[in-house]
């Protein structure tokens, strides 16, 4: 295949990929193993790993920006995937989940209960599944890496996030 043919092939492929419909449901970024909240919570407890809960929404502008500009970073993907159990909640979804108190609810009702005002919103949980802190709106690659370090390295046990971030 010469250079021109290869270029043509990739052009056709790109057009085809553009034409393909987006994922049918509001979805987390590609290349990550995001689970439903209840499954992620159970897995976090079983593996004693911290959990990162991502509240998103279909059509969310800032979510789409983060998917394109932040979650595509290979190093961040590697760090988040290895350090956290990842959970995703679509704030407008009727998808059914089971809460720790035994209640069956929907992802939308769960987001409302957590008073999620906008998306994306990220909540970081400890290895004991206790919420540590919440971040709303666009987060840069560097910010996401710093939050990762704060939680995964256990800094949250002896200093506040503000103090930790102030050190850098």
């Amino acid at each position: 295949m010469n250079m021109l043919s290869r270029l043509h092939f990739f052009t056709v492929l790109l057009c085809f990929m553009t034409w393909l419909p987006a994922p049918a449901l509001a979805a987390p970024p590609r290349g990550y193993d995001f689970l439903a909240f209840d499954k992620a919570l159970n897995k976090s407890a079983a593996e004693q790993k911290p959990m990162l809960l991502y509240f998103g929404r279909y059509g969310c502008t800032t979510c789409r920006k983060m998917h394109q500009e932040v979650f595509t970073d290979p190093a961040l993907r590697e760090e988040l995937s290895s350090d956290f159990i990842l959970a995703y909640v679509d704030t407008e979804s009727g998808k059914r989940i089971r809460l720790p108190n035994g209640e069956r609810t929907t992802e939308m009702a769960f987001a409302a209960r957590n008073r999620i005002l906008g998306t994306p919103t990220f909540i970081y949980f400890s290895t004991e599944q206790k919420p540590l802190f919440k971040r709303a709106g666009f987060q840069s690659i560097e910010q996401m890496k710093r939050y990762d370090e704060y939680v995964a390295s256990g800094h949250y046990k002896n200093q506040t996030l503000k103090a930790f971030l102030g050190q850098s």
Binding site: P21, A22, A24, L25, R57, Y58, G59, C60, T61, T62, R64, K65, Q68, E92, G94, R96, L99, N101, G102, E103, R104, T105, T106, M108, A109, A112, R113, R115, I116, L117, G118, A136, G137
Partner: protein, 399 residues
Amino acid sequence: MKTLTCTLLLGMLIQPAAAGWKFDHKTSIGPAQRPGVFHHLEGAGRKHIAVSDGTIAAIWEDDHSSDPQVFVAIKNPRDQQFSAMQMVSSGEEAYEPAITALGKRRFALAWEQDGAVYMRSFSNGQAGKPLLLSEHSASHVSLASSGEDFYAVWRQQQQRNWRLIVARLKINDTGTLSLLTRHPLEDRQYQHPVLYPSIAANSSGIMLAWEDRESGHTRLKYSFSDDKAGSFSSPQNLNEFFSNRNQYDKGSGVTRVSLAPFGEDEFIAAWMDKRRGGVGYGIYTAIGSEGSFGPNEKAHGEKGDQLPHYNPSTAGNRAGKFAVAWDDFRMGNADVWITTYNEDDEWSEDQSPAVASGSGEQAYPSIALDEHNNLHLIWLQRSSPDAPTRLWYSKGRFD
């Protein structure tokens, strides 16, 4: 001067109380509150209560029998309490029920059961034989009635394709349901989900509204039929949206539309709308007639402007009255709020009924207006976010 001051003071003292809804004491419906039991009022269009010739019927889902199932209870005009609940679903799991009044103290009930949509009639305390409405994987059913006609809409998935299906039905004197017509809203099939349709009917026709995700974000669409669901108009945008911030911006988010008829030929639509930015959903509305809707209007007042609102429910009657209910936590915990048009055809000040506010959470309202302008309200109450729920009813009158 003294006379003028006294006159003003006297005038202030004898000024009539502000107009608003006055609600009776609340009445419990369904299973008693107990650990591990959770009710849900989360059907498409939020139609969980209906009134037929003075008889009130409520429908909900709860898990008091371990699996989620759908239950109904009624309150006849002379009854002080609701009847014992009856389970109307019969599968392994049932969710998201809907109800509409058929006249002569009869009702139609529908719900999702094990991935399909079912319907039953309910009259004289007896549920009719279940009727399977859907042909493929289906959910999100909503019901409406006008005169002798009644209708159902639901979403159906076949492989990767989604459609809204509309059915016209009839009921005979023995309560047996018959399917008269059943066909897709449009010939085309969608590769993105269509969600949470709501349906309303009056003498002018049938209005549908639903969530559409074809444009890369959620938009509300509506369509109208003036030939008893034989054909529907081309879908139009219901919500006004804005998309110019950057290349990722497809428009502001919207979800969970609720429709109701009022007057002879008008409709009210209400939904959750994120156009206000980082303060969560507002409750926005539009009024429609002759097959189309007018401009969007914010229903809640300024006191609720800086926080999110959830679970809008609409109701209207042939006398021309209509109302919108929702819940928000402006007072700390979630409370039910109601608004309607005032004499100037503007949205009145938000009102939280005393029976559906205060300590704990009061949320997920569903409302119906009877022909005497009584507003029938059901909602869920819990003492804290993790506590078991309880289902309540109260009747309000606009004074």
